[in-house]
């Protein structure tokens, strides 16, 4: 070829290529323009068939490129024709604005390398324009192989649709695909479909009520519909959605509802794509307001009405969930051996029959004659875990007027309703069906106020009605033992709840006051719920329990998160407030269920631990009895009143109450009102000093009471005991209490000095000694040496040996140490010093001598971490130290008496 010719040829080629490029550009521009107009029409509400038309615009584009392409013609001429096939959503003609465009180029045999040139023509302009196009180039055999190897490929193949090219290759492939599926892979595929669906629900959770519902993959999302469609395609080879009804997968009613729901969800999805400008299928919190406005949800003041928008969406997604249930039931049924016959099977209930795994009324006349069937059908459904046929649901909805006052008051019917309550589980919650059919509201008209009531915030994931039903469902889950240690706690607490009906009903109605705008929903709820419980025939005690539970359903969680639960007073306060063990149990389970049903912001391991801790500690207070008892509480209230009366001239009531609140219940229960006042005076006069004390003479001239208020320093109690010993003052009894956050009150009953003339001087010396002892940790070491090492007792031949008992179960807050020994001078000092030297702090002491045998009880905590001592080794050391501090006990010689 000459140079000139060569140049001419090159020029020709260049023009050709440029022409081609210009043409491609033109095609793409036309496509983009058409698509934009279509989207514009859709967004302004003028395009009801957007999805289908959107798919068609795409089809047209691919068709044009294919027609005009030289490389595609070359491929055909070279004997390697191919088909262009739409897959997935595009294949179903359900192409949303920013959804991926999935394509398959299918060849009969080997894929020729020349296909590359065509792909460039076909796809590059789209990629350049920012479209997400996924493609695969395969031959028939590869395709079949992969479809049965990978489930995601199989499902896209189910939706395959021919666009252009060699249609015979497409139809040939589809024929083989369908026949292979039906003959070799049916069972496996159905199993896969089922398992995949379960996994998806596990991964995504119940999407309808999440703050950000996933319109595609979540429970109640479009996938639920896809699953039914795929199943129908696998099972009966149906081609389009319309066939779902024609082939009997759905009733006409169901099909129409499905179309309606899909149209709404697609519309929302397209708007979501449009405002996010990308393939976004999660309805994030921040888009919800804008979308509500765009979709025409507006309140009276024209502001977007998000709560109504979400309420409607939830209804739609609820329907898709039902569709999913139908698909799943069918899949299960068809994979089971024996298969469901289309014959009716009878049930034990006259008037109810089962067909293909659904519950039916035998006929509508039966319902008219026996309206209680309207309730029985739900119990049967719950017990046998067989869903109501959609027809059955419709009948229930249409015959609601039969649920009249007579039925509502009928004892047998109420009993059925109570039973239904205990049959509501996660996988199969019959209460939701009762809600959907309207019968729940018919039975409890007050429930209407909270139906579809959405609380638009990050905290509440569910509308109030669904939340309440979830609560009942979660309580039912406590019947299940498996799982973590905490789960087994719920299990054992649940088992101990005697009146489970009260718990279930309280769970269902705990938020019944939520419609109250005053935000006092617990109080309002208790008021609203009372007549409901009375109507259902609960007795007075039961009604009171329920009213208490509903009125106080937040106190446990509030206290657990807002009060210091490591403080015994919190648990005692809780025990007083709740009053009865049975109420505490129910309240605990209700709180757990309520929090779990609210969402992850309200429930996580962190809150679970706090709540569990508070429950166990409050339970501990109840078990110990004395502090939580009504009698004790009355005594304390009486004392508080005395203190108020005695102080009211000097102090304001507020100030006195505040002071009283800082005192432990145990102290208030054990100390007289008069003494409490004198301790308050001591405390007021303390003013920065280490301690202050007061000696008072009791009725008995041989006893003095020394009340000491001081800063809570380690060893303080032991040092007081030591100082008395040092000054030869016999301690008869003593009590120690913590007082406020940083102080202690110690009360000693002591025998006065024998020499009464200088009694005052004696006390003064003791007081000085205490100052020394506080400042010098070894000041009392000499006194320690004076403690006897041997002790002879005269109580029978065999005196009981010294015993130290450690009780770590009675209290959640303290280790309780009980010391049994015989009285000797310096006894208290000896023991408490041993405790102090083993890093143990005495918080409460009850020391009393009876004759010469003594039982001293100490409530102690570790000085290291201010908590109960649980380390076995440490406990052994403490025990040993106490025993070592006690003298060896021997019996007095009694031989003389004998002889």
């Amino acid at each position: 070829m000459s140079d000139m010719l060569w140049h001419a040829h090159c020029l020709y080629l260049e023009i050709q290529i440029n022409n081609k490029k210009a043409m491609d550009k033109e095609n793409t521009d036309i496509f983009i323009k058409k698509r934009e107009i279509l989207i514009g029409r859709f967004l302004s509400g003028d395009e009801p068939e957007f999805l289908e038309k959107h798919s068609s615009v795409l089809d047209e584009y691919f068709f044009t490129i294919f027609e005009k392409s030289i490389s595609s013609r070359k491929l055909t001429i070279a004997g390697t024709p191919f088909a262009i096939i739409a897959l997935g959503g595009y294949g179903r003609k359900e192409q949303c604005i920013h959804s991926d465009i999935d394509l398959l180029l299918l060849f009969e045999k080997e894929v020729p390398p020349e296909v590359e040139a065509f792909l460039q023509e076909l796809l590059y302009p789209l990629w350049d324009a920012g479209f997400e196009v996924g493609y695969a180039v395969r031959n028939v055999n590869e395709c079949l192989e992969m479809a049965f190897e990978r489930f995601d490929i199989l499902t896209t193949m189910l939706d395959a649709r021919f666009i252009c090219g060699a249609s015979l290759i497409y139809s040939g492939f589809m024929e083989r695909f369908r026949s292979d599926l039906a003959t070799k892979h049916l069972k496996h595929t159905l199993n896969y479909l089922y398992e995949h669906g379960e996994k998806r629900h596990f991964d995504f959770g119940d999407s309808t009520y999440l703050i950000a519902p996933d319109l595609k993959s979540g429970f109640g999302g479009l996938r639920d519909y896809h699953t039914l469609l795929w199943y129908a395609k696998i099972k009966s080879g149906i081609k389009t959605r319309r066939d779902l009804e024609y082939y009997g997968f759905l009733s006409n009613f169901e099909y129409l509802s499905l179309t309606e729901s899909l149209n709404d969800i697609w519309k929302i999805r397209n708007f979501l794509h449009s405002i996010t400008k990308r393939k976004c299928d999660t309805l994030y919190f921040e888009y919800q307001t804008e979308l509500a406005g765009l979709l025409g949800y507006r309140s009276k003041n024209r502001a977007p009405d998000v709560e109504r928008f979400l309420g409607d969406l939830h209804k739609r997604m609820d329907f898709l969930k039902q569709i999913n249930q139908i698909a799943f039931e069918d899949i299960l049924e068809s994979t089971r051996i024996g298969k469901g016959t289309s014959e009716f099977r009878t049930t034990k209930i006259d008037g109810l029959v089962i067909k293909k795994g659904r519950l039916y009324f035998t006929n509508t006349v039966a319902v008219l004659q026996k309206p209680d069937l309207l309730l029985k059908v739900f119990l049967e459904s719950g017990l046998r875990k067989i869903p109501l046929a959609i027809e059955t649901r419709r009948i229930v909805s249409e015959f609601l007027h039969l649920v009249d006052d007579k039925i509502k008051k009928d004892i047998a019917c109420i009993k059925i309703f109570k039973k239904i309550m205990s049959q509501s589980y996660w996988e199969f919650n019959v209460l939701n069906v009762m809600l959907a059919t309207g019968i729940l509201e018919k039975l409890i008209p007050e429930f209407s106020a909270i139906v579809s009531k959405i609380q638009y915030n990050h905290y509440h994931l569910f509308p109030v009605d669904k939340h309440s039903i979830r609560c009942v469902q979660i309580i039912n889950s406590f019947k299940n033992h498996r799982g973590s240690a905490t789960k087994s706690l719920y299990y054992s607490v649940f088992k101990e709840v005697r009146n489970k009906n009260i718990l279930f009903f309280s769970a269902l109605l705990h938020d019944i006051g939520k419609s109250d705008p005053a935000k006092e929903h617990s109080k309002t709820g208790a008021k609203t719920a009372k007549p409901i419980f009375e109507r259902f025939g609960f007795n007075a005690t039961e009604v009171n329990d329920a009213v208490f539970l509903i009125g106080n359903h937040l106190i446990l969680i509030k206290t657990a998160t807002r009060r210091d639960i490591s403080d015994e007073e919190t648990a005692i306060y809780m025990a007083h407030k709740i009053g009865k063990i049975r109420l505490l149990r129910m309240l605990y389970l209700l709180t757990v269920a309520d929090s779990q049903a609210t969402g992850p912001k309200a429930w996580n391991e962190w809150t679970e631990n706090l709540l569990k801790d508070l429950f166990l500690k409050t339970m501990g207070v109840f078990r110990k009895g004395e502090l939580a008892s009504k009698k004790n509480q009355r005594l304390i209230d009486k004392r508080k009143k005395i203190v108020l009366d005695l102080l009211k001239e000097k102090w304001s009531e507020d100030k006195i109450n505040k002071q009283l609140e800082s005192m432990p219940q145990r102290y208030l229960a054990n100390v007289s009102g008069q003494s409490i006042v004198s301790h308050i005076n001591l405390y007021t006069n303390l003013k920065g000093k280490d301690f202050i004390w007061q000696v008072s003479e009791e009725n008995d001239p041989d006893i003095r009471t020394i009340s000491i208020c001081g800063k809570d320093k380690p060893g303080f109690y032991s040092k007081i005991a030591g100082v008395f010993f040092l000054n030869n003052l016999d301690i008869i009894a003593s009590q120690a209490y913590s007082y406020g956050e940083e102080h202690v009150i110690d009360i000693f009953k002591v025998k006065p000095p024998k020499d009464r003339i200088f009694e005052k001087e004696k006390w003064e010396k003791a007081q000085k000694d205490l100052v020394h002892a506080i400042n010098d940790d070894h000041f009392l070491d000499n006194a320690l040496d004076k403690i006897p090492r041997e002790l002879q007792v005269s109580s029978g031949k065999n005196p009981k040996p010294n015993t130290v008992r450690i009780d770590n179960e009675t209290s959640s807050f303290f280790t309780i140490i009980e010391v049994f020994t015989y009285d000797f001078p310096g006894l208290l000092f000896s023991i408490t010093n041993a405790l102090y030297r083993t890093n143990t702090n005495v918080d409460v002491a009850m020391v009393a001598t009876k004759v010469d045998q003594v039982v001293d009880i100490f409530y102690v905590k570790s000085l290291v971490n201010d908590a109960k001592i649980e380390n076995e080794h440490e406990l052994t050391l403490i025990k040993k130290a106490i025993l070592k501090s006690l003298p060896h006990i021997t019996a007095k010689e009694m031989n003389n008496e004998k002889s």
């Binding site: 240690a485 054992s492 807002r562 809150t607 569990k612 908590a867």
Partner: protein, 112 residues
């Protein structure tokens, strides 16, 4: 600039928040955390079964302040979180190299 991380008792959060806003510190990050220091976990017994609370639930409050305000901020947190008991928590202070406000691109103290 300094980062102040305070691990406090859950029920003290409101006090700390309030005290900080009183001295003009409003922004903070609050996290629910579990942990233990000297105040170890403990066990409870219910119906003979032991329930171990391994970790103690705590709240972590994080704030970033200018160097000049550090002492004041730390003191404020400490006072508010203090109940005089073990388990009241700890405060960690560490240097912060840079702060950038995402929206405006402001840096340093302006971005606080």
């Amino acid at each position: 600039m300094k980062k102040v991380e305070a691990i406090i008792k859950p029920f003290k959060l409101d006090d700390v928040k309030e005290a900080l806003s009183e001295i003009g510190i409003f922004g903070m990050t609050v996290t629910e955390v579990n942990g233990y220091g000297r105040q170890k976990g403990h066990k409870e017994i219910y119906r003979g079964a032991e329930y171990v609370v391994d970790f103690v639930p705590k709240i972590k409050v994080e704030i970033v302040v200018s160097d000049e305000r550090l002492d004041e901020a730390v003191e404020t947190v400490r006072n508010a979180a203090n109940s005089g008991k073990i388990g009241d928590g700890k405060i960690f202070v560490s240097p912060v190299e840079q702060v950038i406000r995402v929206r405006t691109g402001e840096t340093g103290i302006d971005a606080l």
